[in-house]
């Protein structure tokens, strides 16, 4: 089992910096995800780890060994491409055994190992099918088996589920997680689907414009985003710009266009700093007239969308900024007419104050 | 002897029969390819630098262009004939000697052995008109009533017009030596040809074209090679006939030459000796309708053929004295003439 270290890794294509000073360590056996918008450099990081691109600066180590100058065919990694890249002219078992074939194993051994792996991915006896006869999900599993056949220390997966439809995607997520837990191989997983990253990973790295924004567990990222980008990219958030007027007991008091509001101050802002307050739509509620929560915002109802199981309340603050509240479709909503005035409340612990930087 | 010999010959000269007879006698296999015009054989051989064939059969009068081309390319196309290897006495001496006047030798060395001779006269559809050797004139084909129904070979067409205008053929002969005369002769001929171009249905170049003109394209009169015409005569049971005009039919002699790049030289001589023997020449005369250079070859012809001969040249071959021979042609002359031809063709 080998851990992976990226030490201040940068990669430039000509003038363009695709990855900027990335430093992180991925533990052996971890399920680690990179999450970020399209073009932020996720694939590039993966290609550097597997050896298809060389970093312009910095060092990549696998199991402590510097990988510079080592080709993809000599690294203990296996890459699963976004589109799987199964060999369409080989049968399923030949695909799985390809890595063994080029290592010179006998046909019999190849076949035996392929059959073992077919059992593992729950496709026993399907080795003689052609790849094109498989369903999308089955192909997915074959790609994984092929990558695992050469017993890599690390499995790299580049948005492997993005081509699948929703139902199948949900199913495959569970499968992937199960396989990872069964084999104990390090999984490095790329996605721009936050649901995917959050439900599957031990840890997540959120990227933006080539840089790492935050590396943490999913719960941490959702609950305590480190930057404004993370706060807005992961999940929905109501942002309120302002500046810090007071700091007390781990909380900051912000002066915003919607009034003076309190929020957690995990990033140690000081008085006078420009800051953003974020509060998630589901942590807000329509305040009873008699309620007195810590934070209250006066708004007017703009629209009420019924979307299946949820109700989304869109409201607009007095000075024009929008505010969204999510409620489950089990409440009495008769009083929430268009243009009705409502008070929206949330607790100070549900909100977080962050430095005012770029949002997603 | 054994082996093979590659022959490049005119269409319809060498029959399957002749090749078999020769092979049975000598054990040599003949590979035959055919061409349709003198220029074709010359320029193909030029493009192949004299390689690929062991015997070629251009007209003797065209050999001058071969010598010129060889000099221009710095690569002789033909090799001199070793006359000691020819079977003595089987070729008609007057023909053998005549060939020297037509250009069979270069600087005294012989390059072409006469193989046959023939004429270019008038072919006609006897259902539409009648011509006899005493009265037929080159001018007959230009009559208005045959407009759009005549076939002519551009090269010999201009020549026959020149001959017709000239009457004696004297100026035409001079044209071969003097560029200014040549221009004069051919511009006059061209003028006549242009005026009468609507008469022409087909410009033929090869024997195949010619046959098509009379069979598929419905021509009723025109210039033709005697052999081709005689073959049509036979095919059509005398509907298509042939006659030598009184101004003199255009007469040529074809030779047997050995290219410089020939590989089967021994076999080539063997074939030359066969083709100039009474047997080979006779078979050729029967097959092609042309006249062999071999002594006694005419004995092979049947009565019908003899009869035809009399209808063409007169009962005693009177017209033969009148023949106009193609002169040895230098490169400049054929280029000059082909300019006039192109003008005629493309007008």
């Amino acid at each position: 089992m080998k851990n992976i270290e990226l030490d201040n890794v940068t990669l430039r294509f000509g003038d363009f910096t695709a990855v900027r000073n990335a430093t992180l360590e991925i533990e052996a056996g971890e399920f680690f995800s990179f999450l970020g918008p399209s073009g932020c450099g996720k694939t590039t990081i993966l290609r550097m780890i597997s050896g298809f691109n060389d970093p312009t600066e910095g060092v990549i180590r696998i199991g402590g060994r510097d990988m510079a100058g080592i080709g993809p065919n000599d690294r203990p990694t296996s890459l699963i491409f976004q589109n799987l890249a199964l060999f369409p002219l080989m049968s399923v078992w030949e695909n799985i055994a390809y890595g063994l074939r080029v290592r010179g194993l006998s046909k019999k051994d190849q076949r035996r190992r392929a059959d073992e792996l077919l059992d593992m991915i729950a496709l026993p006896g399907q080795g003689d099918k052609m790849v094109s006869e498989l369903s999308g999900g089955q192909k997915q599993r074959v790609a994984i088996a092929r990558a695992l056949a050469v017993e890599p220390a690390v499995l790299l997966l580049d948005e492997p589920l993005s081509a699948l439809d929703l139902k199948l995607r949900q199913h495959m997520r569970a499968e992937l997680r199960a396989i990872q837990q069964r084999t104990g191989v390090t999984f490095i997983y790329i996605t721009h689907d936050q649901g995917e990253a959050l439900t599957m990973s031990d840890r997540v790295a959120v990227m933006s414009q080539g840089g790492l924004e935050q590396v943490a567990t999913p719960a941490e990222i959702y609950a305590n985003p480190a930057t404004a980008f993370v706060a807005t990219f992961v999940g929905e958030n109501n942002p309120l710009a302002g500046h810090v007027v007071d700091v007390r007991n781990g909380h900051a008091v912000l002066d915003t266009s919607m009034g003076t509001l309190r929020a957690r101050n995990d990033r140690n802002l000081s008085i006078g700093d420009k800051a953003m307050l974020f509060v998630r739509p589901e942590r807000c509620h329509v305040a009873r007239p008699d309620a007195a929560p810590e934070n209250l915002v006066s708004t007017r109802v703009e629209r009420l969308d019924l979307e299946g199981s949820y109700i989304n309340l869109f409201a607009r603050g007095t000075c024009g900024s929008r505010f969204v509240v999510h409620m489950t479709n089990n409440q009495d909503i008769s009083h929430l007419q268009r243009n009705a005035d409502v008070q929206i409340g949330f607790s100070a612990d549900a909100a977080i104050a962050l430095p005012a930087t770029r949002m997603a | 002897a054994s082996g093979e010999v590659n022959v490049y010959s005119w269409d319809a000269y060498i029959s399957e029969d002749m090749m078999q007879t020769f092979e049975a006698a000598s054990g040599i296999k003949v590979n035959l390819s055919t061409f349709g015009t003198n220029n074709e054989v010359l320029n193909k051989l030029r493009a192949s630098k004299g390689e690929g064939f062991d015997i070629v059969l251009p007209s003797i009068s065209s050999l001058q262009s071969w010598y010129d081309a060889g000099a221009e390319d710095g690569n002789e196309l033909l090799q001199p004939i070793d006359e000691t290897r020819l079977t003595a006495g089987q070729i008609n001496p007057s023909i053998y000697e005549k060939s020297l006047d037509l250009g069979a030798s270069q600087r005294g060395a012989r390059y072409g052995v006469p193989f046959n001779w023939g004429t270019e006269g008038l072919a006609f559809n006897s259902e539409e008109l009648d011509l006899t050797w005493e009265t037929a004139s080159w001018n007959d084909q230009w009559k208005g009533e045959y407009a759009g129904k005549m076939a002519i070979r551009p090269r010999s067409g201009l020549t026959s017009i020149a001959l017709m205008i000239d009457g004696t053929g004297k100026m035409l002969d001079d044209a071969y030596q003097d560029e200014a005369v040549a221009h004069e002769v051919f511009s006059k001929a061209l003028e006549f040809g242009m005026d009468h171009k609507p008469n022409i249905k087909v410009f033929w170049k090869t024997a195949a074209d010619l046959t098509g003109a009379f069979t598929a394209d419905g021509c009723v009169v025109g210039q033709s090679w005697d052999g081709t015409a005689i073959n049509m005569w036979k095919e059509t049971d005398g509907k298509i006939r042939y006659v030598s005009p009184k101004e003199g039919a255009l007469t040529w002699m074809d030779g047997l030459c050995i290219p410089s790049g020939a590989v089967n030289v021994d076999q080539a001589y063997e074939l030359i000796n066969f083709l100039t023997s009474a047997q080979g020449g006779g078979m050729h005369a029967v097959h092609s309708g042309y006249n062999s250079s071999a002594i006694g070859a005419e004995a092979a012809l049947d009565a019908a053929a003899q009869e035809r001969f009399k209808m063409i040249y007169g009962p005693n071959g009177e017209a033969i004295a009148n023949l106009w021979w193609w002169k040895p042609e230098a490169g400049w002359f054929s280029k000059l003439r082909s300019e006039y031809i192109t003008r005629w063709e493309t007008a």
């Binding site: - | 074709e40 221009e72 600087r107 249905k201 033969i320 082909s338 003008r343 063709e345 493309t346």
Partner: protein, 390 residues
């Protein structure tokens, strides 16, 4: 260099070597160098007057040699006759007399020894003169040959435009090729459109098969089939006469018409397929949208289909034009006395006239013409090479 190294990184040394060597052989050895050499050849020009002079000198020499040979042979016979004391066997020299059948020997009987000796002396004298004349000729030839050496000149190109036999043919060929292209376009557009848009899937497959079959049939045969139809005693005339519509055969092959018919037929499919390919990519919804917005049929073609099919039309026109202008088989087989095609002139320069320099020059002019046409079409229809070669 960068290309090689990045290629090598991807494919390894062996494959990289194969790819680069292969391309180099093809590009340089088969495409560029032969064209350049052709151009070089086209610049080589020999002064025809000088060449004629050389040739005339040589043939004069040849004639002298013939005379010399005959004189020597006669001399030998006379010597022999003198030896035998004036026998009656000397041949008068058969030089001028042609007697193809029967014996030719006109024996000059009864010459005396004195007469023979007189003749011998005359001949000996003449032989001496001949030797002098040959020597003089050979000396002059050296100079003449120098003048007749080929030189680099643009003369071959001027020739095309000064030669009033060839120049009209050149322009006629270009014009006729444009005509063939235009006719093919008009005939093919509806076919391509129908195939791409109107026909159902199964019919399209069948019709495509119907197009592919003649497309694959040899060009020679396609042309030959029209020869059979159009000749004076051909099928069309036979049918017309049989049906009583006419009693004299019609000359279908007069002028250019047969060549044009044959070319349209031979190259029409090179027009159908490119247009079909582009029309096929037209979203049928666009046609329906236009119809939904009230456009009549012809206007839909004018405003929606044809603009979309432009690249295909350009490609079809380029291919058809290029094939027509460069066609040799069709005019040779279907041509009449007045239909000469420029390619025939080029062929004649090579295989009739033996003038490779002029032939190369003409060929190069044809090539330039085609390139100009292609570039014009590409400009006009705003297409690029990638569209053409599909």
């Amino acid at each position: 260099m960068e290309a090689i190294s990045s290629f090598r990184k991807r494919y390894g040394a062996i494959l990289t070597a194969y790819v680069f060597v292969g391309c180099a052989i093809w590009l340089i050895g088969m495409i560029v160098a032969p064209q350049l050499l052709m151009v070089q050849k086209s610049l080589m020009y020999t002064d025809p007057a000088a060449a004629a002079a050389v040739s005339q000198m040589k043939s004069a020499t040849d004639r002298l040699f013939v005379e010399k040979g005959r004189a020597e042979r006669e001399l030998r016979r006379i010597e022999a006759d003198i030896q035998t004391g004036g026998s009656a066997g000397a041949d008068q020299g058969s030089g001028g007399v042609f007697s193809p059948f029967g014996s030719t020997a006109k024996r000059n009987t009864g010459a005396t020894v004195a007469e023979l000796e007189q003749r011998r002396d005359a001949l000996t004298l003449r032989l001496g003169q001949i030797a002098d004349e040959i020597a003089a000729n050979d000396a002059a030839l050296v100079q003449a040959e120098k003048a007749a050496k080929p030189r680099v000149r643009l003369q071959n190109y001027f020739e095309l435009f000064s030669n009033d036999a060839n120049r009209p043919i050149f322009f006629k060929t270009i014009w006729s090729s444009i005509l063939v292209t235009a006719i093919a376009l008009v005939v093919c557009y509806p076919v391509a459109f129908y195939l791409a848009v109107s026909a159902s899937k199964d019919t399209t497959a069948l019709l495509m098969l119907g197009l592919i079959v003649p497309y694959w049939v040899n060009e020679i045969l396609r042309t030959f089939s029209w020869l059979m139809l159009l000749s004076t005693n051909g099928v069309i005339n036979q049918a017309l006469i049989w049906s009583g519509l006419t009693d004299t055969p019609i000359d279908w092959r007069g002028g250019n018409s047969a060549v044009l018919i044959g070319m349209v037929y031979a190259y029409i499919l090179f027009m159908v397929f490119p247009i079909y390919n582009t029309v096929e990519t037209l979203d049928r919804n666009q046609i329906e949208a236009a119809r939904d917005l009230g456009a009549p049929r012809w206007f839909i073609h004018w405003s929606v289909v044809i603009p979309h099919a432009k690249p295909g039309i350009a490609v079809g026109c380029i291919m058809t034009f290029m094939l027509a202008a460069g066609s040799y088989a069709v005019p040779v087989m279907l041509g009449s006395t007045t239909s000469k095609w420029f390619t025939e002139i080029i062929y004649d320069q090579f295989y009739e006239g033996g003038n490779w320099g002029l032939g190369s020059a003409y060929a190069f002019v044809l090539l330039i013409t085609c390139i100009l046409f292609i570039m014009t079409m590409m400009r006009l229809f705003r297409v690029n090479l990638q569209d053409i070669a599909r």
